[in-house]
């Protein structure tokens, strides 16, 4: 009887999990479905059965070159993530293993920078980019995206590092490890799942960033967010084309997420159950 109940409960939970997962995934699924419709079908109303035409993909590719914004997206997402990790690992290490009275305040202050709406600092940042010649450059945008995501990266790494017993690092020091050795050869390998999930999450955040990447680029550094924005039309049907452009833009990150989901889940739940 008990077994039957637990099996029923399991089925119930699985069904609930599937329902929630489908609910979350539905907007993406519907975007893909819409991209396979004709423009007339796309605007006609809710319909899950597309006519499976690839017309919109052809139009999108013939109107805009996909590969330039794609390359920019890869460079911006990967570049800003690596840069963020280089800055955040030592910072999180210091805060996790040598905390001071102010550590919590510093962490909170870092997070507070995320609470301000981005548009509030648009003009100052726009002017800084203009005066320093960083406008529409990959390097400028890479640094900016790194700075935007840094608080989250530091917070995540700090949480993972806190789970690692300080005694292990002490033991390494007893064996004569320098600070560099300690971070590189002891701490980092132990925190790999955490770092990996931070890395993946940061890549996703940087890939999907659509305010600064549109405001601070024109042609040279414009990534896929700007590519998508170019398909909205004031006069003329565009939903299928916009959906095709969106599908092309999210496909790489979706595939990356798919293959690394085990790593992501492991990292995100790392240290959750002790």
């Amino acid at each position: 009887m008990a077994r039957a109940t637990s099996r029923n409960a399991k089925i119930g939970w699985t069904a609930a999990a599937w329902f929630v997962a489908l609910l979350i995934f539905f907007p993406i699924l519907y975007t893909i479905i819409t991209s396979l419709k004709t423009e007339q079908e796309a605007i006609a109303g809710f319909d899950l059965i597309p006519s499976l035409t690839l017309e919109s993909y052809q139009t999108v590719q013939s109107q805009n070159n996909y590969w330039r914004p794609f390359t920019n997206s890869v460079i911006l997402a990967v570049g800003s993530t690596i840069l963020a990790l280089i800055v955040a690992i030592p910072a999180a290490w210091a805060m996790a293993f040598s905390p001071t009275r102010r550590t919590k305040d510093i962490l909170m202050w870092m997070l507070s920078t995320k609470m301000m709406p981005a548009v509030a600092v648009l003009v100052p940042i726009y002017l800084i980019f203009l005066r320093t010649g960083l406008m529409d450059t990959r390097i400028g945008l890479t640094v900016l995206l790194m700075l935007i995501n840094l608080p989250i990266v530091v917070w995540m790494l700090y949480t993972y590092f806190r789970e690692i017993p300080g005694e292990i690092l002490e033991a390494a020091r007893m064996d004569g490890a320098t600070l560099r050795d300690e971070i590189l050869y002891v701490l980092t390998p132990m925190a790999i799942p955490g770092i990996a999930s931070t890395l993946l999450l940061n890549i996703i955040l940087a890939w999907n960033e659509a305010f600064w990447t549109i405001q601070l680029t024109t042609t040279n550094a414009a990534p896929l967010s700007a590519f998508i924005a170019s398909f909205s039309s004031p006069q003329g049907l565009f939903w299928a084309k916009l959906s095709a452009a969106s599908t092309m833009a999210i496909a790489p990150i979706l595939i990356l997420g798919w293959f690394s989901q085990k790593q992501l889940v492991r990292g995100l739940t790392f240290g959750a159950v002790k």
């Binding site: 002017l127 405001q215 042609t219 006069q235």
Partner: protein, 440 residues
């Protein structure tokens, strides 16, 4: 030593001169534009321009209309110089030109500036100087199904009144067949429902502001406009009309669900295109309606135009490009590649005198007549302190127009009464105009 130094300085000067010459020879123009059929076609034909001007490279930045406006405004206000050519409308041109943000345009004789349609040229000029060259222009008119009108036994005159339109809408409605007498914009936005409603209000004798900039939504004219608009849409309009904009109505009309559609003249080429429209052979055109006793047909006028921001460092090349893209030659180029139907409409008188164009574009005569009839410099029969036909050409209008549009959309969706929508519009607009310093 001195000789060496001189030689070095000479070499440096030579290099600098060569560099300067190279910079002048190879200019990259960044063109900011919106995504619509005519603009996309121009992007495809840019190779013809660069072949004739080998020193100029053209880079396109295509953005959604509102993002484009935001990006360009930020760039111009900060003297960013990111763009060399801007795609802007008749709303922005007078405001930005007065701010000194745009370069006045002067073309040589070949350009035939006098061939530009006078109403459009005037809308893009400030103090007699042209600040943007029209790429395509539009007014508004009635597009209707000739077959449905015939079946319903109604005739839509070439110059209809609102009474004619309402009677025709009633006769053509058959909701059991998903056939709606009239489709109008309901989606909130200063360039969406307020574009149409402002033009309709003009034709009812209403005005946005009196000469002291006091909002006039409490006037009898606005009340009548709103009542008739809501009555038409509720009784003869399609369901969910409060979320229908230009594109949604275009789709409904092309699918044969609308008896009439009153909107931008540019839509005529879409609804008569047999490749996308199921009703292409049965479309008739009439002027924008007016109220009996008034001679005002809305005064809708819009032109997507090309302008040069004062911050551009390639103004000569930008002018060369604009002269090409808005020339008679460009129209002929489009016609030779894709037929006369595809020619950008509404900008040049010569296009409407062209027999080939008249033959291929059945909407040509009505389009030019609608554009010529528009007087956006004086949109209302009453005295007004502003210019603009289906909008008010003040910087605050984007915010105010959208806020008022939300009230009308809510009334159309049945969330509030017409009286409440007008009262809220009056209160909000008065507050914003006082805050902005118009009302002392």
């Amino acid at each position: 030593m001195t000789t060496t130094l001189r030689a070095l300085m000479g070499a440096t000067a030579l290099c600098a001169t060569a560099g300067l010459a190279a910079a002048q020879d190879n200019v990259t123009l960044t063109v900011a534009t919106v995504n619509n059929g005519d603009m996309i076609r121009m992007q495809g034909l840019t190779s013809e321009f660069t072949a004739a001007n080998p020193g100029i490279t053209v880079e396109w930045v295509t953005l959604e209309e509102n993002i484009l406006r935001e990006r360009v405004t930020t760039d111009i206000a900060t003297q960013g110089g990111q763009y060399d050519v801007l795609t802007i409308g008749t709303y922005e041109v007078p405001i930005w030109a007065k701010q000194g943000w745009l370069v006045p345009l002067e073309f040589d004789e070949d350009y035939a500036v006098d061939d530009l349609i006078p109403a459009v040229r005037e809308a893009l000029s400030v103090d007699g100087k042209l600040y943007a060259a029209p790429f395509y222009a539009e007014s508004a008119m009635v597009m209707y199904r000739t077959d449905l009108a015939e079946a319903a036994g109604v005739t839509i005159p070439e110059e209809p009144t609102w009474t004619d339109i309402m009677a025709a809408a009633k006769a053509m409605t058959d909701k059991s067949k998903e056939q709606y007498g009239i489709c109008l914009r309901g989606k909130p936005g200063w360039g969406e429902n307020m574009g149409f409603i402002t033009a309709m209000a003009n034709s009812y004798g209403a005005r946005w502001f009196d000469t002291d900039w006091k909002p006039q939504f409490d006037s009898a004219e606005w009340k009548e406009t709103t009542t008739d608009y809501l009555a038409m849409m509720n009784e003869y309009g399609p369901p969910g009309a409060s979320s229908n904009g230009f594109n949604e109505n275009l789709s409904l009309f092309q699918q044969g669900k609308c008896g009439m559609w009153i909107d931008a003249t540019v839509a005529a080429s879409f609804v008569t295109d047999p490749k996308t429209s199921t009703v292409a052979d049965n479309v008739g055109f009439a002027k924008f309606p007016t109220k009996e006793g008034l001679d005002n047909r809305g005064n809708w006028l819009w032109a997507w135009s090309l302008a040069i921001p004062a911050s551009s460092d390639a103004q000569d090349a930008a002018k060369t490009f604009i002269a090409w893209a808005t020339s008679k030659g460009y129209t002929e180029l489009v016609a030779s590649k894709e037929g006369w139907r595809a020619a950008p409409p509404g900008t040049r008188t010569s296009l409407y005198e062209n027999a080939d164009y008249q033959k291929e574009a059945p909407f040509a005569a009505m389009t030019i007549s609608a554009i010529n009839a528009a007087t956006p410099q004086k949109a209302s029969v009453q005295d007004i302190p502003y210019t603009g036909g289906q909008f008010v050409a003040i910087p605050e209008f984007q915010g105010i127009g959208t806020a008022v549009g939300q009230q009308f959309s809510a009334a159309l969706a049945g969330q509030m009464s017409a009286e409440d929508a007008l009262a809220t519009a009056q209160a909000n607009t008065t507050r914003e105009m006082t805050r902005a310093g118009y009302i002392k």
